[in-house]
């Protein structure tokens, strides 16, 4: 069955209650404001960005570091590496805990890739964020509370899908990440009214499914 959720696996969750200032600086935190760090690794990068953003809505934490690893989770440097390392920073460990709880909740019940074909080899991430947090809104140049369609798929599927998404609803492309990225997927961030974002995400997802089912199109197909 297609469009089954592919639940992300949280590979590690650790906390540094009182991190060394040098470390704080190296990972982009501000030693004046931050003392504690929360660190996570997950085997899916894009749901993790969404979940880190979700954490900023529930606690006074800042996402100071979040980077995808090259070539994805299947080529990790160790069993805990996964596809991404995310770092939350806050003034107290309690804030970190609260942020991590929201992070885990989001990954367990909301953000995830979906299988676009029966074999589960094509993954698509047609995620709609109803209200942005402080992290992604800053990256996207939007305001916290705006809606965002966070769309990810492999290069071919993503390109066809993005065209469908932009034409399907009154949305605006905030950022487009053409391939290659670290994980060799392609991504796009679209914004607009929530309904438009949802329509765009659905159109994107449907296009990905159709491309995956018929890769060579009507002209060159069998």
């Amino acid at each position: 069955m297609i469009l089954q959720a592919l639940p992300p696996r949280i590979l590690s969750v650790r906390r540094l209650p009182n991190a060394d200032p040098a470390l704080l600086l190296a990972y982009g935190a501000d030693p004046q404001r931050h003392r504690s760090l929360g660190l996570v690794t997950v085997d899916q990068d894009d749901p993790t960005y969404v979940a880190l953003d979700e954490a900023t809505k529930h606690a006074d934490v800042d996402v100071v570091f979040a980077k995808s690893f090259y070539a994805g989770a299947r080529h990790g440097s160790g069993p805990l590496s996964g596809e991404i390392l995310g770092v939350l920073a806050a003034s107290t460990p309690d804030e970190i805990d609260e942020g991590l709880r929201a992070f885990v909740r989001c990954l367990e019940s909301d953000a995830c890739f979906y299988a676009a074909d029966d074999a589960g080899k094509t993954a698509v991430f047609p995620h709609v964020i109803a209200a942005l947090g402080r992290y992604l809104s800053a990256l996207a140049g939007l305001s916290p509370g705006d809606a965002l369609a966070y769309l990810v798929a492999p290069p071919m599927e993503a390109t066809i899908g993005l065209d469908m998404a932009l034409k399907a609803a009154g949305v605006r492309a905030v950022r487009i990440f053409p391939p290659p990225t670290e994980t060799n997927f392609a991504a796009a961030w679209l914004t607009g009214p929530l309904e438009s974002c949802e329509a765009a995400a659905l159109a994107y997802c449907e296009a990905v499914v159709r491309v995956a089912a018929n890769p060579k199109g009507e002209v060159w197909g069998s």
Binding site: I2, L3, A111, Y114
Partner: protein, 304 residues
């Protein structure tokens, strides 16, 4: 559930790609049941086997595997049906007059009310009370009352025999016996009001007892000294299982008469009554010698 997951679920439906249910997992091979026959096991202990011959209770019925034998189950169900039927039977309204008795009735109006309202079954209906006060013989030693109780079947089968033997045994002991009556929809305590209305010294009610398995025809007798409303069960002496397989009515009548005699002598009844002297008076009807083996009434026959 998250909004995005709902949207994707709906899209899957629209694309016609939803499988209503996951495919059934392959069934494991079910092995053939073992070809085992469970023969009937009879009770192995000779003591239990002998005891079972002397009672109609469900003793030593054996087993087949872990369950009862089919004929035992069928017999149980048949006996239960007999008991239900006995409770459901009603004493005909003219049964008393046909048998030369005075017919009285409790305050109960129908059989269903009789089962649901024991309190109404303990009081005489006003018309019956007036008629009985008029017709009854006042100041007698013993007032016998025949009644349906919970088994009209028992009352009709052996009630008259018991009444006769009881009356004769009382007269033989020099007691005056009142005019016999038959009461419908009667509970035990109805004897208080009937006895009090004619100022009898002892009231004796003979009525069908609550049917059990295989005994839809049992009678019980309850005797009370100085009957009047307000007497309790502690003031009564009773005898149960008066039926052909228990205490036979002819013997029961004699024992009850001896009991009535003792009540009149001691001027009390119930737990206060001293029964220690009765043994000699009863003579051979008090015998507790070896009982002949009882034959269970077979309601079901199983071939083989």
């Amino acid at each position: 559930m998250s909004r995005t997951r709902q949207l994707i679920d709906r899209l899957r439906d629209e694309l016609g790609a939803s499988a209503p249910m996951p495919p059934a997992p392959p069934l494991p091979r079910v092995p053939e049941p073992p070809a085992r026959v469970f023969p009937r096991r009879h009770e192995g202990s000779p003591y239990a086997r002998e005891a079972a011959r002397h009672t109609t209770a469900l003793l030593g019925i054996g087993h087949v595997g872990t369950r009862y034998a089919t004929d035992v189950v069928l017999q149980f169900q048949a006996e239960l049906a007999v008991a239900h039927e006995a409770v459901a039977t009603e004493l005909p309204a003219d049964w008393a007059t046909q048998n030369g008795l005075i017919g009285l009735r409790s305050r109960v109006r129908d059989h269903r009310e009789y089962l649901l309202r024991p309190d109404l079954g303990r009081r005489l209906e006003p018309e019956s009370l007036a008629r009985w006060t008029q017709a009854g013989q006042h100041g007698v030693d013993v007032q016998p009352i025949l009644a349906d109780g919970l088994s009209a079947v028992a009352c009709m089968q052996s009630g008259l025999t018991l009444l006769d033997s009881f009356t004769q045994a009382c007269r033989a002991r020099g007691l005056t016996v009142g005019v016999p009556v038959a009461a419908r929809y009667a509970r035990v305590w109805l004897e208080d009001e009937i006895g009090a209305a004619v100022s009898a010294k002892v009231a004796a009610i003979l009525l069908g007892e609550r049917p059990g398995l295989g005994t839809g025809d049992g009678l019980s007798a309850y005797l009370v000294y100085d009957p009047r409303i307000g007497k309790t069960d502690g003031d009564r002496n009773m005898m149960s299982n008066i039926h052909p397989r228990g205490t036979r009515p002819e013997i029961a009548g004699v024992r009850l008469a001896v009991l009535a005699r003792a009540m009149l002598d001691q001027q009390r009844s119930g737990v206060e009554l001293d029964l220690s002297g009765l043994r000699t008076e009863l003579g051979d009807v008090a015998s507790r010698a070896h009982r002949a083996p009882q034959v269970r009434v077979r309601l079901v026959e199983v071939a083989g």
